[in-house]
């Protein structure tokens, strides 16, 4: 490949679900900071080495707030990427994040574990009653995180069907479905305005009530920030987790010897989930949301001028042979695993600890209660929602005996 010409982005889809596009490995080795061109001609720098990606995610010279400008390439997510926590820089970001951070600490999440284990068991009992093949997305991978985040936020169970369609639409393809996505955000906003009024009248022991108190008693956030926070937590709380449950299962079935190891070593579930986080490609592009340089920054010998878009390729960084031994091998017992599957820096996934625990309990439940669970169709028949950030399986037909 020539050093100077920008590479077309998105990159061609990888040939399998289980590895990043081969071009990404080539870039990481030979052109770790490569200029890419979006279909509309906008340019960005694609960063693929672990150390560089961590720098882009952590170093305050890379701004998320500047990336929301009209002149910047858009990676999807629309309003969510441009208005919620992920759109802000410190100190404004920290002011808002601290209001919700305490609900998601490792300690608080551990308190929720028994409840999550019960939800897992109940869902598996329901799944067993379905005719086979049954859709795991509908009966397990989606309802589990939806129920957990709704409990946490204080969203009534009876409202879940209402918002699911909007939430689904809100995670569409921004290039293709802007109107549908924008409409979904308006509907979700309307829903949260109603919910907030109901909770103002009757506060409960939940996160939305706590946020309302932070607004009404201490003026720590605006009404609009309150609504956007609710939407962000609701969507962030289930779309990615649901998809990781599907992808983790597919990955384990693709590596039967590793699956057997895990069944024989249930005590290592925590380590296994970290390796699955490292190995699994969250989206087909593997790139996370764009940052913009606030001043010239040098990465791997390339100076990126100020004001330019930079894309951290987390999926490529998680396969960096300079950091991970035999990086393309799934090794569930991997000891040294500084993966950045949850990102890093101020936007490090707010729900990381919660997601870890949900994923551990989901796998524990599936592997012990349905030990011969299998996917009923070949990978080539799986359909994915076309988003750049999160690759969502639409339906996952499964069978068991």
């Amino acid at each position: 490949m020539t050093q100077d010409s920008p590479i077309s982005f998105p990159l061609p889809d990888p040939p399998t679900l289980y590895h990043p596009a081969p071009l990404l490995s080539e870039l990481r080795e030979h052109r770790p900071v490569a200029q890419v061109a979006f279909p509309d001609g906008k340019l960005a720098w694609l960063v693929t080495r672990h150390a560089d990606v961590r720098t882009v995610l952590i170093d305050s010279r890379f701004s998320r707030a500047l990336a929301t400008g009209e002149d910047m390439p858009q990676m999807g997510l629309g309003s969510l990427a441009n208005e919620s926590l992920i759109a802000k820089d410190p100190p404004e970001h920290t002011r808002l994040r601290r209001l919700v951070a305490r609900a998601f600490t490792a300690r608080r999440v551990e308190e929720l574990r028994p409840r999550v284990a019960t939800v897992v068991s109940d869902l598996i009992a329901g799944l067993r009653k379905q005719p086979q093949p049954a859709n795991l997305v509908e009966h397990f991978s989606l309802p589990l995180p939806v129920q957990v985040i709704c409990d946490l936020l204080g969203v009534p169970a009876t409202d879940r069907d209402r918002f699911h369609g909007w939430s689904d639409a809100a995670m569409g393809n921004w290039e293709r479905d802007q109107d549908v996505m924008a409409g979904a955000f308006i509907s979700l906003g309307g829903y949260f305005m109603e919910l907030i009024e109901a909770k103002r009248a009757a506060p409960a022991d939940d996160l939305m009530s706590a946020l309302i108190a932070a607004r009404d008693d201490d003026d720590r956030l605006s009404e609009e920030e309150l609504i956007t926070m609710g939407i962000g937590l609701l969507i962030g709380g289930h779309e990615t987790t649901a998809n990781q449950i599907n992808m983790f299962l597919l990955t384990l079935l693709e590596h039967p010897e590793q699956l057997e190891w895990l069944k024989a070593n249930p005590g290592r579930l925590d380590v296994a989930v970290e390796e699955l986080m490292r190995f699994t490609q969250l989206g087909s592009s593997t790139a996370s949301l764009i940052r913009v340089t606030t001043e010239p920054v040098e990465l791997s010998g390339v100076t990126i001028p100020a004001g330019q878009a930079v894309m951290p390729a987390i999926g490529a960084a998680n396969r960096d042979p300079g950091v991970f031994t035999d990086p393309d091998r799934l090794d569930l017992g991997r000891a040294e695993n500084p993966h950045i599957g949850f990102g890093a820096g101020v936007h490090h996934c707010l729900g990381a600890q919660l997601a870890r625990m949900e994923l551990q309990e989901a796998l524990r439940g599936l592997l012990t209660e349905l030990p011969d669970l299998r996917v009923a169709v070949p990978d080539s028949e799986l359909r994915f929602k076309p988003t750049m950030i999160v690759r969502s399986v639409e339906e996952l037909p499964v069978v068991w005996s």
Binding site: P90, P338, G345, H348
Partner: protein, 72 residues
């Protein structure tokens, strides 16, 4: 009045949350774990917000007598 800053290395998962939010107060060592740039700092709301935002509650902000500075 100065504050004292501590990071529990055992608990730290190297999320980079604090170092990203307040690089004047926290940086990351070769293992990617956080440490205070200086142990004694002037009172700073941003540092307190970063401590509250740590996903594993690894940051302690202490007053001169060793008592925890209240978060609010």
């Amino acid at each position: 009045m100065t504050w004292r800053l501590r990071v529990d290395r055992e608990a730290c998962i190297g999320s980079g949350m604090c170092a990203g939010a307040v690089p004047e107060a926290f940086d990351l060592d070769a293992d990617g774990k956080s440490r205070p740039v200086r142990e004694e700092i002037n009172p700073d709301q941003d540092v307190l917000d970063a401590a509250v935002s740590c996903p594993v509650e690894a940051i302690a902000v202490l007053g001169r007598d060793g008592e925890e500075i209240p978060w609010d």
